[in-house]
C-alpha cells in the first residue's frame, strides 16, 4: 500500500514540478525535509523515552495488570458471548488497555492473539471460520474507534512546530475519542442484536 502511495507522491511531485517550473524548490525541499525529519526524531526521542520509561514503571508496579482486570466486566457487557471465554477476554483486555495507554508495541500482539482465540471459538461452535463473528467485528470496531487517551505523538509534533501549549489537546482529544468510541460501541451493540434476531 505504502509502496504505491510513496511512489505516487514523489513521482507526481516531480512531474508536476516539471511543468510548473518548481524543480529548484523540489531539490531544496527533498534535502530540507530529510534534515527536518531527523530534527523531529530528536525531539521525539526525548518525549517517547520519557513516556515508555513511565509505562515500564506502571507495568512493574502492577498498574497495567490491575487496569486490565478492571475492564473485564465492561468487556463482558460488550461481548456477552465471550462471557466464559477467559483467554479471549484476557487478550482483548490487554489489547484495549495497551491501546488506551498508547502502548503501540503491546496492543498488536495481544490483538492478534485475541483474533486467533475468537477464530478457535468459531471452529469449536461449528461455524464457518472464513466469516467474521460478531465478536470479531465488534472488537475491530472498538480498536478502530481509537482508544488512546493521551496522544503522545501529536504532542511531540506540536511542540516541535512551536506550539505555545502542546499538551492543550489532551482533554479535547479525550472528549473527541470518547465520542468516536461511543459511536462505535453503539453501532456494534445494535449490529450484534440485529444479527442475533435474524440468525438465531
Amino acid at each position: 500500500m505504502l509502496n504505491y502511495l510513496w511512489a505516487f507522491m514523489i513521482l507526481t511531485g516531480i512531474i508536476y514540478g516539471c511543468f510548473h517550473g518548481t524543480m529548484a524548490e523540489i531539490s531544496n525541499a527533498a534535502l530540507d525535509s530529510a534534515k527536518e525529519a531527523v530534527n523531529l526524531c530528536i525531539t521525539m526521542l526525548g518525549v517517547m523515552s520519557f513516556w515508555t520509561g513511565l509505562m515500564q514503571i506502571a507495568q512493574k508496579a502492577g498498574i497495567i495488570a490491575s487496569l486490565t482486570q478492571k475492564i473485564t466486566p465492561f468487556l463482558r457487557f460488550l461481548f456477552p458471548s465471550l462471557r466464559n471465554e477467559q483467554r479471549a477476554l484476557e487478550y482483548i483486555s490487554t489489547n484495549v488497555i495497551a491501546n488506551i495507554l498508547g502502548l503501540g508495541w503491546a496492543c498488536t500482539p495481544a490483538g492478534l492473539k485475541a483474533m486467533e482465540e475468537m477464530r478457535q471459538i468459531q471452529l469449536r461452535c461449528g461455524k464457518n471460520p472464513d466469516i467474521a463473528s460478531n465478536e470479531m467485528c465488534g472488537f475491530l470496531i472498538l480498536n478502530i474507534s481509537s482508544l488512546q487517551l493521551i496522544p503522545v505523538n501529536m504532542i511531540v509534533y506540536r511542540s516541535q512546530y512551536g506550539s505555545v501549549n502542546p499538551t492543550a489537546i489532551i482533554a479535547p482529544a479525550i472528549l473527541a475519542t470518547s465520542f468516536s468510541t461511543l459511536a462505535g460501541i453503539l453501532f456494534l451493540k445494535i449490529a450484534d442484536a440485529r444479527s442475533r434476531r435474524h440468525n438465531y
Binding site: 510548473h20 525541499a29 525535509s33 513516556w51 472464513d130 470479531m136 480498536n143 479535547p172 465520542f179
Partner: protein
C-alpha cells in the same frame, strides 16, 4: 466556566497527575522506579530510531509534493468542492490518507503545522482528528489476515461511523474553543 476553560485546565493537570500516580504506586509497591524508568526509556529510544527511516522517507515525499505546488493545486481543487461544507481543504487529504497509513498522514499533518502553526484553528483541528481516528484499512487487513477471515461483515460500516463521529466531534470542539 465554559467548555474551553474546563478542557484547558484538565489538559494542564493530567500529565503531572499521571506521573505522580505512577511513580507513587511504583514506590509503594517497592519497584526500583529509577532503574525501571531507564530500561523503559531505552526501549522507547529504540522505537523512535526504528521509525526514523519511515519518517525521513515520508517527509521527503510530502516535501517534494508541497514544493512542486501540487498540494496547493489539490487544496484549491478540493476547496472549491468543499466550500459549502466549510471543511478546510488541507484537512481532507489527512482524513483520507489516515484511513490507510498513519505515518503517511503524519507527513501531511506536519506540513499543516508548518504552514498554519499547531495552535491555529486548522492546526488544532488536525491534531484532534489525528488523535481520535485510526487507520481503518490497515488495522482491518492486519487483524483479519491473521485470523484468516474473508468476510468482514459489518466491521467497515462500524469503523467508518466511529471515525465520522470522531471527526464531527473534533469540528464541534474546535468550534466551541475558537468561538
Amino acid at each position: 466556566m465554559n467548555l474551553a476553560n474546563v478542557l484547558s485546565n484538565f489538559s494542564n493537570i493530567i500529565i503531572p497527575l499521571v506521573i505522580f500516580y505512577i511513580v507513587a504506586t511504583g514506590i509503594a509497591n517497592k519497584v526500583n522506579v529509577y532503574d525501571e524508568f531507564l530500561e523503559g526509556a531505552g526501549d522507547g529510544m529504540k522505537t523512535v530510531v526504528g521509525i526514523m527511516p519511515t519518517l525521513i522517507g515520508l517527509m521527503i515525499a510530502v516535501g517534494v509534493l508541497r514544493a512542486s505546488g501540487f498540494l496547493d493545486f489539490l487544496g484549491q481543487l478540493l476547496g472549491r468542492i468543499l466550500v459549502s461544507f466549510s471543511v478546510p481543504a488541507p484537512i481532507i487529504p489527512v482524513i483520507l490518507i489516515k484511513m490507510f497509513s498513519s505515518s503517511a498522514a503524519t507527513g501531511l499533518v506536519l506540513d499543516i503545522f508548518k504552514t498554519y502553526g499547531p495552535d491555529s484553528n486548522i492546526g488544532f483541528l488536525t491534531s484532534l482528528i489525528m488523535s481520535s481516528t485510526e487507520t481503518i484499512f490497515y488495522t482491518m487487513s492486519v487483524y483479519f489476515l491473521a485470523a484468516k477471515v474473508k468476510k468482514t461483515r459489518y466491521t467497515l460500516p462500524g469503523a467508518l461511523i466511529a471515525t465520522l463521529a470522531g471527526i464531527v466531534a473534533s469540528f464541534w470542539i474546535v468550534g466551541s474553543i475558537f468561538g
